[in-house]
């Protein structure tokens, strides 16, 4: 297992980069939000791998907290997207641009 740590961390770095790219290039608020979730889950992967590497439970403990916090974020985030959709009939972030300069 331990000899694969490098590969797992590399995978998590790739997933994290995909998430960042998604946030920066996508236009739909929900898709951006899914990309953020991808970032958080890539962190979970890295944490579990490091936890195994160091033979230490802290990393796995943090994973549980990250999941709980991600769930709380989903609840608030989707509520915000719904309220904006009700008023504007769109979730496209490029069209939601009243506040500029």
């Amino acid at each position: 297992m331990n000899q694969h740590i490098d590969a797992i961390v590399a995978l998590s770095a790739i997933l994290f980069s995909m998430g960042v790219l998604g946030v920066l290039t996508r236009k739909n608020a929900i898709t951006i939000f899914m990309s953020v979730e991808l970032m958080l889950n890539s962190v979970n992967l890295a944490l579990v791998a490091f936890s195994r590497l160091h033979n230490d439970i802290t990393g796995q403990m943090l994973v549980i907290f990250v999941m709980a916090i991600a769930a709380a974020e989903v609840a608030v985030g989707l509520a915000i997207v719904i309220s904006i959709f009700r008023n504007r009939q769109t979730a496209d972030v490029t069209e939601i641009n009243l506040l500029r300069w």
């Binding site: 960042v20 946030v23 958080l40 990250v66 915000i80 506040l99």
Partner: protein, 477 residues
């Protein structure tokens, strides 16, 4: 392993101030759900903060750390906690009045605020990166909801969505940084990471982790180049929320950044200072220059918060106790000042129309007390004596100069002069005779006015006789 009840009790007692606020948050949530007299909500919130403040001030904690080294109690946690609770108490004095004026009849506001304060108190008492992360998220998630409190208002919606997407994005960076630091050192405990650094030279992994974590923090404190959300959010959110997002969030996040820097680098790290120096310089320049072009007062305050993030970062350069104390002083005065400014802007708003430099005209005559308080706050933000902002800037610049960052100090002084340009326009507008003499209905209520005057007194006292506050910070440190 059997649970040691005495230890559990001791640990619980040492975080009592946090638990009191958490309890009041839960009570507030229940009360707002059960439609009991909503007039009672601010009283419950305020007394919760007051009791927590008293517990923090007068109860001596049995040990310096609790929960197997996850939490630090005493000293730093007390300084950070007291400044957050003072702000929260002042905010609970004005919030009922402002919410009513904005037409927001949602008791949830108080519960959200109390949950956010729980997170802030956790952040400043953290001794572990896990605590830092959970604290920041416990603070941020209620903040997103507070920004979107006006559900029918598209600007409030937009502000909430921008805040939420950027905040979650920043949390991703912060967390990946924490994961890499954990991977490099094998621990998330700040003290143990410092021990690791003292015994071995960290590799690239560790520094990438620190870089990503700092990126997350820079997002949260709205430092350039991660600042673009701040003016939008502070402008779009209901003013009663902005008055707390822009101040409490900044206080807690900067104190946590100082805490992380203090714990991780007892020996100053040149790499850390180099990154902070670049971001500080950019924030001071871009924040102040962009603010010059603004006409919306809340937006000006948003860019001013970007600029002040730059000044505050200067205090992190030396990585000495003096530097951290200067930062604590500055961020406390800045928080109270910006709170007063936002609150007054909230009172001067009319029918939800934004307060611009034009619409401010003549309000200094029709609303004398509010006008004087806004003037005091704005002069303090400029950094002109005898206000607290001057002493804060002086302490921060002095510390940066002593640690050999003369160039940045000169940049700081020059950008402060630039900032006079836009701050002065607010005062000039206030005391210009308007074309039409319209008097705004709903001036601040007596209770809210007391809160504003208290804030103004803190600004004046911290400027005229700074030892009151510097002595308080150094004695608790």
């Amino acid at each position: 392993m059997p649970i040691d009840l005495n230890l559990l009790l001791r640990d619980t007692l040492s975080v009592a101030p946090v638990l009191i606020v958490l309890l009041s948050a839960i009570v507030l949530m229940m009360m707002s759900a059960s439609k009991v007299q909503s007039k009672m909500l601010p009283w419950v919130a305020g007394s919760g903060y007051l009791i927590s403040f008293l517990a923090l001030t007068f109860v001596t904690v049995p040990s310096a750390s609790a929960f197997s080294g996850m939490v630090n109690t005493g000293s730093f946690a007390v300084v950070g906690g007291i400044m957050i609770l003072v702000l929260a108490f002042l905010h609970s004095m004005i919030s009922a009045n402002l919410l009513q004026k904005d037409g927001i009849y949602l008791g949830e506001f108080y519960a959200l605020q109390a949950f956010a304060i729980t997170g802030m108190l956790m952040m400043v008492s953290a001794n572990d990166l896990i605590m830092v992360f959970i604290g920041i998220e416990t603070m941020s998630i209620p903040f997103y909801a507070m920004a979107g409190l006006k559900r029918k208002d598209v600007r409030s919606n937009e502000s909430a969505m921008k805040y939420f997407l950027i905040g979650a994005f920043a949390a991703g960076f912060l967390l990946y940084g924490i994961a890499l630091i954990y991977g490099a050192t094998g621990t998330t405990n700040l003290t143990r990471i410092a021990d690791y650094l003292a015994s071995q030279t960290p590799g690239a992994f560790f520094w990438v982790g620190i870089g990503l974590m700092l990126t997350g923090f820079f997002f949260k404190v709205s430092a350039v180049p991660f600042h673009f959300w701040a003016p939008d959010v502070y402008q779009g959110a209901p003013t009663v929320s902005s008055a707390f997002l822009a101040t409490g969030g900044k206080m807690a996040t900067f104190m946590t950044l100082a805490l992380v820097s203090m714990k991780l680098f007892p020996v100053p790290s040149a790499k850390w200072a180099a990154v902070v120096a670049v971001v500080a310089a950019l924030s001071m320049i871009i924040g102040n220059v962009t603010a010059l072009a603004q006409t919306n007062v809340k937006r000006i305050l948003g860019y001013s918060s970007v600029a002040h993030a730059g000044y505050l970062l200067l205090a992190l350069l030396s990585q000495t106790t003096d530097g951290y104390q200067a930062l604590a002083y500055y961020v406390f005065v800045y928080g109270i000042t910006t709170f007063a400014a936002f609150a007054v802007v909230g009172y001067l708003e009319k029918d939800g129309n934004p307060v611009t430099l034009d619409s401010l005209k003549g309000l200094g005559f029709s609303h004398r007390t509010e006008g004087v308080i806004l003037t005091i706050a704005v002069i303090s933000l400029m950094g002109i004596p005898p206000m607290g902002g001057f002493v804060g800037k002086y302490l921060v610049f002095l510390n940066a100069y002593e640690s050999g960052h003369l160039g940045l100090v000169i940049l700081g002084v020059v950008t402060s002069m630039v900032s006079v340009g836009y701050y002065l326009r607010i005062i000039l507008s206030l005391y210009t005779r308007p074309e039409s003499t319209e008097v705004i209905a709903n001036p601040a209520g007596a209770f809210a006015l007391t809160g504003l005057i208290l804030a103004a007194v803190i600004i004046l006292v911290s400027g005229i006789y700074p030892p009151v506050f510097t002595g308080w910070i150094t004695s608790l440190w």
